[in-house]
Symmetry: C2
Subunit: 272 residues, 2 copies
């Protein structure tokens, strides 16, 4: 793992966004602000929004891949990745292109991309560790994780990374496996606790402590993300199951200690 601080030169890129949902749109706004040229395709027709943003929207996947992209940026849900890639007519991509993804798990897209992409395509796996909520006031000091899985065209790759570097992101190069290990213990756990609190329907009380206020926030932000995203974090990160078990086990331990203490207390407390 290494924190990179290079401030390499950058050029204007033609970026084709594949999957124009919440997160694709969120990224697109900053890329446009930086002067890059954007095109997009998605399952749903987002052409109106794209019109407003100055992005060419393609309903047809073939037209999208033929539209001369420097980078194809995969922003679909984790769960739909293989389906989406299957329907992508890769043989119509005109020239070597950088294929990058932003999925919140990393080993899975890495493996899938290496399996389906022609050898001449470069592969960059990334995870911006922020979203529309945490990144609403800019991306400064927010973490951008990436692995250069197969890069020959260094210039295009570094121009793409420059998008995040120039916004002040903390650039963190690590293997996809390292990412997944740490993400299971942090991001997946956070989402799980948020979903559990949501399942409990916790609500603000007139006497919230500061600690409880932060739990309310964790709940709110986890349910703002799609259930597909949360499911993807679990299903396609091989370390997540263990983390879920650790959580269950720890809760069991805490309960056990409380019950034991309760028993001791009822034996020892003086009768008044």
């Amino acid at each position: 793992m290494s924190v990179s601080t290079s401030s390499s030169s950058s050029r204007t890129l033609k970026i084709g966004i594949l999957g124009f949902g919440t997160f694709g749109q969120f990224l697109a706004k900053t890329m446009i602000k930086q002067g890059h040229i954007l095109q997009a395709t998605s399952r749903t027709d987002h052409s109106q929004l794209c019109d407003q943003l100055g992005i060419s929207f393609f309903r047809d996947m073939r037209a999208f891949v033929e539209a001369d992209n420097d980078v194809i940026l995969i922003c679909t849900s984790i769960l739909s990745l293989s389906e989406v890639l299957k329907s992508l007519p890769l043989n119509f991509v005109k020239r070597p292109t950088l294929i990058a993804d932003v999925l919140s798990v990393k080993e899975y897209p890495r493996n899938v991309l290496l399996q389906v992409l022609p050898e001449e395509m470069d592969v960059l796996c990334t995870h911006p560790m922020f979203g529309p909520e945490s990144g609403k006031d800019g991306w400064k000091d927010l973490t951008f994780v990436f692995e250069k899985v197969r890069i020959r065209d260094e210039e295009t790759c570094s121009s793409f990374l420059q998008i995040f570097e120039s916004e002040g992101c903390k650039m963190l190069e690590m293997s996809c496996e390292e990412h997944d290990k740490a993400a299971a213990k942090s991001q997946f756990l956070t989402h799980t606790i948020g979903r559990v609190l949501s399942e409990m329907e916790i609500q603000s009380t007139p006497m919230n402590t500061k600690g409880f206020e932060t739990l309310l926030q964790v709940k709110e932000s986890s349910v703002k993300n799609s259930l597909d995203l949360f499911s993807g974090l679990f299903i396609h990160n091989k370390f997540a199951m263990q983390e879920l078990q650790n959580l269950e086990f720890a809760l069991g331990k805490v309960k056990e200690k409380l019950l034991k203490r309760m028993e001791e207390t009822s034996l020892n407390e003086p009768k008044l």
Copy 2:
């Protein structure tokens, strides 16, 4: 339940703190700043610290109760309440005194105090919903819950409440039972999750999301409180057990949903 905003007159009080641990010391500092006269007693010898603060410390409980207090403020742990009260020589209290407590559960001390105190003593049950951590920059806008359980000397009671009002606390009058119901769903739950995260030994990663950062905080602050305090929240709040069960149940539900989704996905995902 009502939010009170009265700004009644106040006078200098002689306050005897029973239990001079973390929280008793924390409260004492503000009371001294306001000009009240403090005395204290405790299981442990805190006389050196008391000397520094200008508080008379009594090793002897009888001398403490004879020392002419307007208010005796109980700041012992929840679990030691009945033991401490048993050793308090109430027959040596010289005159009607306001007995107040700050325990983080409320029905339990209310019942115990009504049971053991002579009829002529006034009883005020309170819970400042903050501590040395959350209240380190002052008490403004932090919640102070109280029930006037048995008050005849209104003036002393309101002078005591004024300590918190004048610091800007949100004064919240509610029954001890209402308090315990809401506290189980908020404060106890927060401490439980903090303890679970501590049991899991969660740690900062190089790629923390903002959400995970807040979980780290919840963990840190819950373990700063004593295990006695946490155990007391559970053992002496009749609503806490249900809340612990709700948490377990919700975690089971979330797990079930994830496993179901995982199964569906492995059936539906196209082979590449």
